[in-house]
C-alpha cells in the first residue's frame, strides 16, 4: 500500500539554494564594482532595480495575492520618501547607518499609517472602490507635497544625504522578498490568498476578510514607504511629480506582467522593465506607449488557450530540470 506523505513545511534545500543565490549575486556585483566594470551609471541602474523590486513585490501583496486593484502605490512611496528625507535632514547628527535605518523605518511607518487611513474605510466597502480611492489618494498626496513649502514644494526637496548604496538597497530588497514569501506561506497568507480566490467562501470559512485586506494593504504601504526612503537617499533631491500616476502604473505593469501573485515572475518583470529602457535609450519616448501595449496584451492573451498551453509546457520543462523534484516512491 502506498503511504501518503506530505511535502515538508519549508523545503530546506530550496532555502539553501535561495540563500546561495542571494550571496552569489551580491558577490558578483561587488566584484564587478571593484573591478571597475560596474561604473556609477550601472550602479545607479542597479539601485533603481532594487527600489522597483521593493515596490513591485510589495504591490504584489495587494494586487497579486489579495486581488485588490490599487492605483496609488507611488503615493505611499512619496510619503516614505519625504518622511525619511525630513528625518535625515532634521537629525543630521545621528551617526550614519543608524540615521539611515531609522529614516527608512519612519518612512515605512508613515506610509503604513497613510495606508491604514485610506484602507480602513475603502476596504470595508465591497467592489472596486479601492482602485478609485487609491487613484485619488496618489494625486492628493502629490498636490499636498507640491503646496508644502517646508519640504521644497514644486522646486523639490534638496540636500538629502546621499547615503543609499547598492548594499543597503539590496538588503532591503531581500528583506521585502523574504517577508512576503514567508507571510504568504502562513495562515495569514492563506487567508489573503483565499480572499482573492473567493471572498464569500473565505468569509464562510471563518476569515475576517476586512482585517486581512487591511493587513495586506498596510504591509504593502510600509514597504513602498521604505522604497521611497531609499530613493530619496539615493537621489539627494526629490520632487512631487516623480511620484505621480505614471509611477503607480509603471509598478502595476511590472506586477501584472510578472504574473500576479508570483514573486519570481515579479522579480524578472521588474528587472526587464527597469533595464530595457536604459538599453534602448533611443526608444525611451515610447516607454509609456510600450507599457500600455504590454498591459493590454497581457490582459488580452493571458487567458488565451494557446498561451496557457505554452505556459503549461514551460512549467513542465521547469519541473523536469528542477533539481529538487521529489523522488516518487515506487
Amino acid at each position: 500500500m502506498k503511504k501518503f506523505k506530505l511535502k515538508k513545511i519549508d523545503n530546506k534545500k530550496k532555502t539553501f539554494l535561495y540563500i546561495f543565490m542571494i550571496v552569489v549575486i551580491y558577490a558578483i556585483v561587488m566584484a564587478l564594482t571593484s573591478a571597475g566594470i560596474i561604473n556609477r551609471y550601472y550602479n545607479g541602474i542597479l539601485i533603481t532595480v532594487c527600489i522597483n523590486l521593493i515596490l513591485v513585490v510589495s504591490l504584489n501583496l495587494t494586487t497579486g495575492y489579495l486581488g485588490q486593484l490599487t492605483l496609488g502605490h507611488a503615493g505611499f512611496m512619496a510619503i516614505g520618501a519625504y518622511a525619511a528625507a525630513y528625518f535625515s535632514k532634521t537629525f543630521m547628527t545621528i551617526p550614519q547607518p543608524f540615521s539611515f535605518i531609522i529614516a527608512l523605518l519612519i518612512g515605512g511607518v508613515m506610509a503604513m499609517i497613510a495606508g491604514l487611513i485610506i484602507g480602513v474605510p475603502a476596504l470595508r466597502l465591497k467592489g472596486d472602490y479601492l482602485a478609485i480611492i487609491t487613484l485619488g489618494f496618489g494625486e492628493v498626496i502629490k498636490t499636498i507635497l507640491l503646496s508644502m513649502a517646508i519640504i521644497g514644494g514644486a522646486k523639490g526637496y534638496i540636500g538629502i544625504p546621499r547615503v543609499t548604496t547598492f548594499t543597503s538597497a539590496y538588503v532591503f530588497v531581500i528583506i521585502t522578498i523574504v517577508f512576503v514569501c514567508l507571510l504568504i506561506k502562513s495562515r495569514h497568507g492563506r487567508a489573503i490568498i483565499s480572499i482573492s480566490e473567493d471572498e464569500i467562501a473565505s468569509e464562510a470559512s471563518g476569515i475576517n476578510i476586512v482585517k486581512y485586506k487591511i493587513m495586506a494593504f498596510a504591509f504593502a504601504a510600509f514597504f513602498a514607504g521604505i522604497a521611497g526612503g531609499i530613493y530619496a537617499h539615493y537621489m539627494g533631491i526629490i520632487e512631487p511629480k516623480t511620484f505621480g500616476f505614471n509611477k503607480s502604473i509603471e509598478i502595476l505593469v511590472m506586477v501584472v506582467l510578472g504574473g500576479m501573485g508570483s514573486i519570481n515572475g515579479a522579480v524578472i518583470a521588474t528587472i526587464a522593465i527597469t533595464i530595457l529602457p536604459e538599453m534602448l535609450r533611443s526608444l525611451s519616448q515610447y516607454r509609456t506607449l510600450m507599457y500600455a501595449v504590454t498591459l493590454i496584451g497581457v490582459m488580452l492573451y493571458k487567458y488565451d488557450p494557446r498561451v496557457q498551453v505554452l505556459m503549461c509546457k514551460a512549467k513542465m520543462f521547469c519541473a523536469k530540470i528542477n533539481p529538487f523534484k521529489r523522488k516518487e516512491a515506487k
Binding site: 501518503f4 513545511i9 502562513s186 492563506r190 490568498i193 473565505s202 468569509e203 471563518g206 476569515i207 475576517n208
Partner: protein
Amino acid sequence: MNVLKISNLGINFGGLRAVDNFNLEINEGELVGLIGPNGAGKTTVFNMLTGVYAPTDGTLQLGGVKYNGKTTYQIANMGIARTFQNIRLFKNCTVLDNVKVAMHDTYRYSVIDAVFRLPKYYRLEKQMNEKAIELLKIFSLEDYAESKASSLPYGKQRELEIVRALATNPKLLLLDEPAAGMNPNETKELMNTIKKVRDEFKIAILLIEHDMKLVKGICEKITVLNYGCVLAEGDVETVLSNKSVISAYLGD
C-alpha cells in the same frame, strides 16, 4: 438541547417576500432536510443563517445564544459551516490549503511567529497538516492533498467543500445540494459519508437536496418550503405523502 433555533424568520428583496415566517429547531446530532421546488427560498434561508443576507425579521439562535447581526466570519467561527450550491473552492490553491484556510481560527499564531519562523509556526503548521489529512481521509481525498483544487473531478470538489466546512470545527453543518451533479453511485456513497460525518463528529446537519432518495435515506425530519412559506414539516414519510407537498412538486 437544540443547536439551532430559527423563529419567525423572514426576508424581503424589494417587493419579493422570499422567505416568510420560517421556524425550525435542530437538535444535537440531528440530520434535517430542507426541500422545496426551485426558487422556493432554500438557499436564501442558508444565506440568512450564515449572515450573508440580513433577515428582515425573526431571530436566530445558536446553542441558545441569539446571533442576529453577526458577520459571516463570526458566525462561521461560532460553529456554523456551510457548502455552496455552486461550488466555491479556492480553485488555484491546493486541496490541502483549501482545508487549512478553514482551520484559520482554530490554529492561531501571530505574524511574528510566521515571518520569523518561530517554533510555534512549525508546531501549529504540522498539527494543521495532520488534522487536514485526517479530515481529507473521510472522503479518501488525501492523495490529492497537493493537487490544485480545480483539478479535482466535479464530485470530489463537492466533497472537498464538505471537508473544508468540517475544518472550521462546526456544531452545525449546512449542505446546499451536496449531491447535485453526482451519479447514483456517487450519491449513495455520499449518503453514507454524510451519515458517518454526523456520527463521528456528533454535529447537526441541515441539508438542501432535490434527490428524494438521499433525503429519504438519511434525513430524520424534513421541512418543505414553497414560495418562501413552510408547506409541511415533520418526519419524512408523513411529509412526503402530504397532498399539498406532492402537488407543489408535481404541479396541480
